[in-house]
Structure formats: structure tokens, C-alpha cells
């Protein structure tokens, strides 16, 4: 029997009213995400990936359908501090140093001072920014800011991690290393992860489930359960199963594009 899903969406729709025609950002999206799943969302830009993630996190209210997280509404889950969220833009607070930015959610959640210091140091190292804790955001390069924002979401141990193109601004090498680190973290903690990416190999490498989306209206066109084992060395990317899955994702993506 399937374990009961952590996140369960039924016919979720979201329409933005704009000055001219309303935008159907999501239409009839149904999806179940089980505990410990690593779900990637992939799709052309504007297909509603960010919007769906925001709905899960309770930052946006669907205009139709139902969405539950751990059996609660997303809003209740948000209040229960179920989420770590990495936004598409770094969004660091300019009046705090990098270390201060990472410590901020910890302060809010009431972690003790020594605990905070220890966690900040650990995640700064994880994203390879050890020496930059004392700098202000505007003194960092774009990729470094992005990494700082990842570190911030990892510093506290939320059960559900939502990441919106976290590695978009990073080079292949760092990206690979962070992919590995993320997998290790996931294996160790059993977090449930929702992950938006534009990289097909990244999606295939990381996920247990790949959700392909398509725009106008934003909807799910394919859900691919990964045939790969949970243990994934980097070399797995040369395996036949990997290449085959990547191919299927690419086909799904292409189909989504063919509409315009």
C-alpha cells in the first residue's frame, strides 16, 4: 500500500486577473507527492512551476481545487514551519551580512545562539562560501548570492524543501557538487523535496518523480517515475536507464512547446 501522500493536489487551478485577459497560470493540476519523494518540475518558462510551488507553500491561494499538505491546508503547514523555500531570485536582505541573512530564519524560529552559529558555519561551507559570511549581499557575485539563499533554506531542518531553480546561476562543477550534496542531505534526512529546474539531466539525476508541465493554460502533461535507484553516484548519468528517462522528459518538453 502507498504511504499517504505528504502533498496532495486535486484539480488545482489558479487564474490571475490582469488588466486585459485573465492568465490561467494553473489548470486542473492533480499530483500526489509521498513522504521522502524528490519531485522535479520541468517545463517551458511561464508554464506555472513557480506558481505551483507557491501554492504548495501557501503563498498563493488556488482559485479552484483542493491542496493538502500533511493533511492540513498549505497555510496551516506554513504556520507549522513545514517548509524551506529557495526562491528563484536570491532576495537577500541588504542590511544583513551573508551570515546574518542565513541566521535570520533561525532567529525567527528561536534557535539558540550557539546552535545558530554552528548551523550558519555548516551551511556556508556546504555552499562553498565559508569566507564570505561577513560580506554584504551587494558585494557578492550573482551565483554567490544564489548559493547564500540556498544555504539559508537549508540551515533549519524543514521537512519539505521547495527549491525554485536553485542552481540556475551556477557552473557545471559547483552544480554537480551541490547536486551530490543535496542528494546526500536528502538520503540522510528523508526530506520531501520539490525542485524546479530547466536542466533535464539535473532533473533525471536528482528525482524520484519528474513532473513535466506545459503552458497556456499551465498544466501537467507527464509524470515520470524514475527507474533509478535511490543511491546515485555521478556516473549513473551514463547508464541506459538515465538516458532513456532523459529522452522521455525531452519528448514531453518538446510536446509542451509545440503548442506555441
Amino acid at each position: 500500500m502507498m504511504p499517504s501522500p505528504v502533498i496532495s493536489a486535486r484539480d488545482v487551478s489558479l487564474t490571475f486577473p490582469t488588466a486585459d485577459a485573465p492568465v490561467h497560470a494553473l489548470k486542473d493540476v492533480s499530483l500526489d507527492i509521498g513522504p521522502g519523494d524528490f519531485v522535479s518540475f520541468i517545463g517551458p518558462s511561464g508554464c506555472g512551476k513557480t506558481t505551483f510551488l507557491r501554492c504548495i507553500a501557501g503563498l498563493e491561494s488556488p482559485t479552484g481545487g483542493t491542496l493538502t499538505v500533511n493533511g492540513m491546508t498549505p497555510d496551516q503547514a506554513r504556520r507549522a514551519r513545514a517548509y524551506g523555500y529557495v526562491f528563484q531570485a536570491p532576495g537577500l536582505y541588504p542590511w544583513r551580512t551573508i551570515a546574518g541573512n542565513i541566521a535570520l530564519p533561525l532567529e525567527i524560529m528561536g534557535f539558540s545562539r550557539p546552535d545558530r552559529a554552528e548551523r550558519v558555519a555548516r551551511v556556508l561551507d556546504l555552499v562553498e562560501l565559508g569566507q564570505f559570511g561577513g560580506k554584504y549581499p551587494w558585494q557578492l557575485s550573482g551565483g554567490m548570492q544564489q548559493r547564500a539563499s540556498i544555504a539559508r533554506a537549508l540551515a533549519f531542518d524543514a521537512d519539505i524543501l521547495l527549491m525554485d531553480e536553485p542552481f540556475g546561476a551556477l557552473d557545471e562543477i559547483v552544480r554537480d557538487r551541490l547536486n551530490e550534496a543535496l542528494l546526500a542531505l536528502w538520503a540522510k534526512t528523508g526530506k520531501t523535496i520539490g525542485f524546479v529546474t530547466h536542466s533535464i539531466p539535473e532533473a533525471v539525476y536528482l528525482s524520484t518523480k519528474i513532473v513535466v508541465m506545459s503552458p497556456r493554460p499551465g498544466r501537467i502533461t507527464d509524470v515520470i517515475d524514475s527507474p533509478l535507484p535511490r543511491q546515485r553516484p555521478l556516473e549513473i548519468r551514463d547508464s541506459a536507464a538515465f538516458i532513456e528517462t532523459a529522452h522521455r522528459v525531452r519528448e514531453g518538453l518538446r510536446a509542451g512547446h509545440s503548442y506555441d
Binding site: 507553500a57 503563498l59 506554513r78 514551519r81 524551506g84 542590511w95 525567527i108
Partner: protein, 279 residues
């Protein structure tokens, strides 16, 4: 004609000085020098105008006469300064600023209050000081307390307006982050909205430094003990001692600029991250 020449000459020197490349250590001195030369230009033109057009002393005294009077009457002027600036203006400014900030937070906290209090707050704070001053003198007595009360009323509105705008000055992404961490109201106030409000808050604080001084001085026109800058000015006008009037104004200008400068300095420290401060 001569006046215009003096003006142009000194302004030219100033422009050159301002655009000179200098090292960081000299920057401070340079700023001071530029402002000073500009002031000197004004004073020279003033002195020359008074002499050339033979303006009577009782209308506009020459800067030299004002300077002499300033030095001679310095102890008295300092006493007046203490009474008006420190006792009246400063205490009123602090109370008013605190009240405005707290009100802004209360307004921001409760949509009910926001809709109910803001329009009425605007209204109450728009009561002109010259009208309230006599009433407050009647209520709070002749000494500095009534002056402080006038200052409170005067500085409240500008700070409130700026603070309310400041509390709204966060961007959507920053607010969303707070939401994902499920920050409580006070937490997001303390960690996000207050820091983000600082640039606008200081805007209000800076504007009101000068208002506070004016308020305290003006309130003394409506009743005061026999000291204070407002008292001295009005009495001196009545006695045709215009040099003393201007000496007091000079003191007010120096003290007020200092007051403003200190607040601006604190602003620089507190909002170092804002683009307007990063140059």
C-alpha cells in the same frame, strides 16, 4: 553689478573645489570648505548690499554687526538655547517621534485602526501650530513643557506619514520569505519591516529636526518665561535690537544644523545599505 561679480567669482572657485579629485581623508574637509565658501559668498553679498543700498539697521543689520552682537551676548544666547532647544525642542522631538513610530506600527498592525485612525490622525496632526500653541500654553503652563507639547504635535505627522510609507516599503519577495518561515507579526516587523522602513523613517526624522526648533521658538511667542530664543527674538524686535534678533537666528541656525547633522550621521550609520548611501 559688483555683487554679481563677487557671487560669480566665489561660486566658480567653489565649483572647481567641489569637482577636484581628493583622497578620502580630505573629503570631509573639502565638503566643509565648499559649504563655508558658499556661506561666505552669501555673507559678502549681504554685507555689500546693506552698505551699498544703505539699508537701515532696524530693517536688516549687516553681518558684521550681527557677529559683534553674537559674541557680546553669547552667555545669554546660550542660556536661551538651553531653554528652547534642549528643554523644549529636543524632549518634544523625542516624545513626538516615539509616539509617531508607535502609532505607525499600531496603524499598520490593525487594518481596523489603519482605516479608522489614519484619516483622523492626519486630521489632528494637521491642526496648525499657531492655533494650538496658545491652547497648549494654556494647558501646560508657560515653561518648557508647553513648548515640548507643541513640538510633539508638530513633528508627529511628518514622522507618521514617512513611517507608514516606510513600513509598506518591503518588496513582495522579502515578505514571501518571511511567510515561508512562518514569522510572527513582531518577528517580521523587527527583522524585515523596521529595517526596510529606516530610509523613510530617517527622512521624517530629518525633516522634523528643523520643525522641532521652529515649533519650540514659535510657541514662546504665545507666552513664556523671560528666557528662550523665541522670547528673546520677539522682545528684541520690539526693542529694535535687530542685531540681537539675527544673533539669535544665527544661533538657531547653528544649533539646528548641528541637530540635523547628527541625525543625518546616525542615518548614514543605520542605512548604510541603502542605494542612496552607497553613492
Amino acid at each position: 553689478m559688483g555683487l554679481a561679480l563677487v557671487w560669480l567669482g566665489l561660486w566658480g572657485a567653489n565649483a572647481r573645489l567641489a569637482n577636484l579629485a581628493v583622497t578620502a581623508e580630505w573629503e570631509r574637509l573639502r565638503r566643509f570648505a565648499v559649504a563655508a565658501i558658499f556661506g561666505l559668498t552669501l555673507l559678502t553679498v549681504w554685507e555689500m548690499a546693506v552698505t551699498v543700498f544703505a539699508v537701515p539697521q532696524v530693517i536688516l543689520p549687516a553681518p558684521s554687526a550681527i557677529g559683534a552682537r553674537f559674541v557680546a551676548a553669547l552667555p545669554m544666547i546660550l542660556g536661551d538655547l538651553w531653554q528652547t532647544l534642549v528643554k523644549g525642542a529636543l524632549s518634544g522631538w523625542l516624545i513626538g517621534a516615539a509616539a509617531a513610530v508607535l502609532t505607525a506600527i499600531a496603524i499598520d498592525r490593525s487594518p481596523f485602526l489603519q482605516r479608522g485612525l489614519l484619516p483622523i490622525g492626519n486630521f489632528v496632526a494637521a491642526l496648525p501650530i499657531v492655533g494650538i500653541a496658545p491652547i497648549l500654553v494654556m494647558w501646560f503652563g508657560f515653561d518648557w513643557q508647553s513648548k515640548a507639547a507643541v513640538v510633539v504635535v508638530m513633528v508627529f505627522f511628518p514622522i507618521l506619514v514617512n513611517m507608514v510609507a516606510g513600513l509598506a516599503a518591503t518588496d513582495a519577495l522579502q515578505r514571501d520569505q518571511m511567510a515561508t518561515w512562518s514569522a510572527g507579526y513582531w518577528q517580521s516587523l523587527l527583522k524585515l519591516r523596521l529595517p526596510a522602513a529606516m530610509p523613510l523613517l530617517f527622512n521624517g526624522l530629518k525633516i522634523t529636526t528643523t520643525l522641532a526648533l521652529i515649533g519650540a521658538i514659535v510657541a514662546e511667542f504665545f507666552g513664556s518665561p523671560t528666557r528662550g530664543m523665541g522670547f528673546r527674538i520677539s522682545t528684541a524686535v520690539g526693542q529694535m535690537d535687530l542685531a540681537l534678533v539675527w544673533a539669535e537666528i544665527l544661533m538657531a541656525a547653528i544649533a539646528g544644523s548641528l541637530f540635523y547633522g547628527i541625525v543625518a550621521l546616525i542615518e548614514r550609520r543605520a542605512t548604510f545599505w541603502h542605494p542612496s548611501q552607497r553613492g
